[in-house]
């Protein structure tokens, strides 16, 4: 555990990396330009290890491809760690100087032997060992992961297991070496950075810290809440149970994006009041009492913070349509309508200044400075002369010592059985973006992937008597959706894969809402389903 919620390295550092370990990230589709850099690095001679239940495009470029069974990441990574121990490749000095808890982990790892790992993960023991030794022996080794690691009920365990591997080899605090969660949305990093979090104000200042509360209370002229808030998952469950009474939702179609959509939809009907703010009508707005028309990125000023902590400007190029307004203006107008004296910000530059003044991590950033910096500024950036921070943990682990975490394998919350014999994983394709409200309104992206599909292994298809191109119903305990069948050598036998982009056949009608115990992140990557030919299902 490293204590910083961000990529430790930067995208340009991929130019100098010697080994890339990509796990649970379909990089070329979900982060195309980082995927491109990985491919370029591979081409100039860097080694590439890819671990994924699916033979993703990047696997074709890999030196070692580990096609593990869905949800067995902890076994794979712990077995790799045990290989590193056995080969005597741990970095004793780094462990001594920068970490805690090594002995406990070392003892724990002994039970993750290769033969058992092969049995559970389905990956040949030799490949696991090869990957482990390649990683341990390469100083400039970067790990890149994303939702394939985190969207599990044991997502935090997966991250801990990877962090253990990083700490025990000391592949940290060096240019191109580190641990890199690739963030999904344009501003997912920036949203939490800015304090859209139930436990942090902007700049990761804890909401329970009295001094922080006082600072914000003074700046905003209002008493600050004394307790932590509900996180997204808790709020979603609260909507379902009727505990949540009202919601203000900006820029998300929760019915499409959140798990177990049928139950959530019933909950939305029970809300006493719902405000939505978006650029299009969507599934959720059907239950809204008020809908505010917001602005698209090309119609407003501001900043996005990308996955490598890079704060960059967003600039207004065209006017919002009709009476639509920039979202920052709507939020200010709404706060004033509620009787709060929101300042009359001249532009988002003023809002950023307010945030920077309250947040030491961003204190050196302003629109003015960003306008003069075409490559953006990477936080931490603590003062006007601070150049920003290319990679983290340069002088050891940033927050005290890196803690090894003992993690055990826990199976996913819903495993296949006789009724639902297939494991469904959901994910993204290059040609659409999340709820696809934008990409499905464009001809080329739609031409590439026009409709919902499900990738099925030829053996499974033959057993079920379904053919390539045929429409099938994919059914879980929670619902069913229609999809065109793609016979695919990319998925393993017993596994199927479906994109989440199609509102009318939303994959999240199938997924489980069980979440990770610590983060609440839902298990979008594993649930049990069955396939029925669409003709049979209609009867």
């Amino acid at each position: 555990m490293l204590g910083a919620a961000a990529m430790t390295n930067s995208i340009p550092e991929i130019r100098d990396v010697d080994l890339m370990f990509v796990i649970g990230s379909n990089t070329t589709e979900a982060h195309p330009i980082i995927g491109m850099e990985l491919k370029r690095a591979r081409r100039r001679g860097a080694k590439l290890i890819v671990a994924d239940p699916r033979r993703i495009w990047l696997a074709d470029h890999a030196d070692v491809f580990l096609q593990l069974r869905p949800g067995t990441d902890v076994w794979l990574v712990n077995a790799m760690a045990q290989c590193v121990v056995q080969a005597g490749l741990v970095d004793d000095r780094f462990i001594r100087e920068h970490t805690e808890g090594w002995e406990a982990l070392r003892a724990h790892l002994a039970k993750f032997d290769l033969a058992q790992a092969e049995k559970i993960t389905g990956v040949p023991a030799g490949a696991i060992r090869e990957a482990a030794l390649l990683y341990a022996r390469t100083r400039k080794a970067g790990i890149y992961y994303t939702l394939g690691i985190t969207e599990h009920t044991h997502g935090t365990d997966n991250v801990f297991a990877l962090a253990n591997l990083v700490l025990m080899t000391g592949h940290l605090g060096l240019r191109s070496a580190g641990m890199n969660p690739l963030r999904g949305q344009n501003n997912v990093q920036g949203a939490t950075d800015a304090g859209a979090s139930p436990i942090y104000y902007s700049g990761y200042q804890p909401v329970l810290d009295a001094a922080v509360q006082e600072k914000f209370s003074k700046a905003w002229g209002a008493a600050m809440p004394a307790t932590q808030g509900k996180n997204l998952n808790v709020m979603m469950h609260g909507i379902e149970t009727g505990e949540m009474k009202a919601m203000y939702i900006m820029g998300e179609d929760i019915l499409l994006s959140e798990p177990d959509a049928n139950v959530l939809e019933d909950g939305l009907k029970k809300l006493e009041f719902l405000v939505c703010q978006d650029i299009f009508l969507n599934l959720t707005t059907r239950y809204a009492n008020v809908v505010f028309p917001g602005a698209a990125f090309a119609e407003k000023e501001g900043v996005f913070t990308n996955t490598d902590r890079r704060v960059q400007r967003v600039r207004k190029a065209v006017e919002p349509p009709g009476e639509a307004r920039a979202d920052w203006q709507i939020l200010c107008d709404f706060a004033r309508a509620c009787g709060y004296p929101m300042p009359r910000y001249g532009s988002p530059a003023d809002i950023y200044d307010e945030m920077a003044a309250l947040s030491p991590r961003f204190a050196g950033i302003s629109h003015k400075r960003l306008d003069a910096t075409p490559r953006g500024l990477q936080w931490p950036c603590t003062g006007p002369d601070h150049p920003g921070t290319e990679f983290l943990h340069k002088d050891g682990v940033a927050h005290g010592k890196g803690k090894f975490q003992v993690v055990d394998f826990r199976p996913s919350s819903e495993l296949p059985d006789a009724d639902y014999p297939l494991v469904l994983t959901t994910g993204r394709v290059l040609y659409h973006y999340n709820a696809a409200t934008q990409t499905r309104r464009d001809a080329g992206t739609t031409a590439k992937v026009p409709e919902n599909f499900v990738e099925v292994h030829p053996d499974d298809a033959a057993r079920l008597g379904v053919k390539d191109g045929e429409h099938v119903r994919v059914v879980s305990r929670r619902g069913g959706v229609k999809a065109k069948l793609w016979l695919s050598g990319r998925v393993q036998k017993g596994c199927v894969w479906m994109p989440l982009h199609f509102a009318e056949e939303a994959a999240n009608k199938l997924t489980v809402s069980a979440g990770d115990a610590i983060t609440g992140t839902a298990e979008y990557k594993v649930c049990a389903v069955s396939l029925v030919p669409a003709k049979t299902a209609a009867k």
């Binding site: 949540m244 917001g294 960059q312």
Partner: protein, 358 residues
């Protein structure tokens, strides 16, 4: 630095470091050498011959894009070498012999410019007999984004090398031989039926406008205003230029390679999927649910009042503990900051989270 040295270009010392090409050193010193097939993202190809220079001791002219700079090496460009000048005048004329020309006999202008035209304007071109090259396009290619016009193609191979060396997709290739050589695909299929990911890197790197965006086939470049911004799709945060004409977003281009962390690259979504911005289904007025249970258009004043009263009434009935605020990873940092402020300062609750937390 120990590996820093000078070479001599047109009689003047020019600083270089080991491993640099003559072209790189000369360009940094502000010395002009024409190129067509050069893209910093690609390995030097030496294909177009536009950058040939005289190298002291070498019998033949050498491509400066591929020739390694060496200490004390004497280089002559067209500025000081009549031989290089003669070569350039002849070469540009040969390119023009099978290139699409405008009414004045110059290489045709395109919505994306034409480097051959710009270069021809600086040369004393010769009147060579016209060559009708039987190059074919892919007339049945229905992909909605990328158009290829063989009559504007100089076969420099930037697009095909980009597709291979940078994008790693190898959807397009130089195909056929001799004067029939063209940019083809496997079986001359349309791009939608190939491994092409429609990233548009071929359009971006093409020097002559032979590859252009189908969405902007007749753009008036002079009327376009470019606005630098950050892409609104994934978390890579590519920098891009929104091309605006008459208040509308008409094209997206990528910044110069080497100037931003995306190195001049964009994917299909960033470069092409912007139609949603001016889409007819965009919300243009606030909506308020009426007594009939349906959403109706309303004034801002009315909608803001209805929303504020609605949420404040729930607060009054149940307290703020069961009111939630969902912010957006798709909105700006400032907007997320304000959503936190709204929840905390206005409603006194920390129930604020962003949509991508799960």
């Amino acid at each position: 630095m120990s590996d820093a040295f000078n070479l001599i270009v047109d009689g003047k010392p020019v600083a270089a470091t080991a491993g640099e090409t003559v072209l790189q050193a000369a360009r940094r010193a502000g010395i002009e050498i024409p190129t067509l097939c050069t893209d910093e993202r690609l390995a030097p190809a030496g294909a177009c011959r536009a950058c040939l220079v005289e190298v002291n001791g070498q019998r033949r002219l050498q491509p400066s894009c591929a020739w390694q700079a060496a200490p004390g090496q004497e280089i002559k460009t067209h500025a000081s070498s009549p031989r290089v000048k003669r070569h350039q005048d002849t070469l540009v004329s040969m390119y023009m012999a099978d290139h699409k020309l405008d009414g004045e006999g110059l290489p045709a202008e395109t919505p994306n410019g034409n480097d051959l035209r710009a270069w021809a304007l600086k040369c004393e071109t010769l009147a060579l007999p016209r060559v009708e090259a039987p190059r074919v396009a892919r007339p049945n290619d229905v992909n909605p984004y990328i158009k290829y016009s063989p009559e504007l193609c100089i076969l420099c191979g930037r697009c095909t090398r980009y597709c291979d060396e940078v994008e790693g997709v190898n959807a397009i290739t130089l195909t056929n031989r001799g004067s029939r050589t063209t940019i083809g695909t496997a079986g001359m299929r349309g791009l939608l039926e190939t491994s092409c990911e429609l990233c548009g890197g071929c359009v971006d790197t093409c020097p002559t406008g032979a590859m252009i965006e189908k969405k902007a086939p007749a753009l008036n470049r002079a009327a376009v205003n470019k606005v630098r911004t950050t892409c609104n799709y994934c978390g890579v945060g590519c920098q891009m230029d929104l091309n605006v004409e008459g208040g509308r977003l008409v094209k997206v281009t990528s910044p110069e390679p080497g100037t931003t962390h995306n190195d001049g690259n964009l994917c299909i979504k960033g470069r092409f999927a912007y139609d949603f911005v001016h889409h007819k289904e965009r919300l243009t007025r606030p909506l308020v649910r009426g007594a009939d249970g349906k959403l109706h258009e309303a004034s801002w004043e009315h909608a803001l009042k209805a929303a504020a009263e609605g949420l404040l009434a729930v607060k009054k009935r149940h307290g703020a503990a069961n009111i939630g605020f969902i912010s957006s990873s798709r909105c700006t940092g400032e907007e997320n900051f304000l959503m936190g402020k709204l929840a905390r300062a206005v409603f006194g609750i920390n129930n604020v989270h962003q949509c991508a937390a799960t």
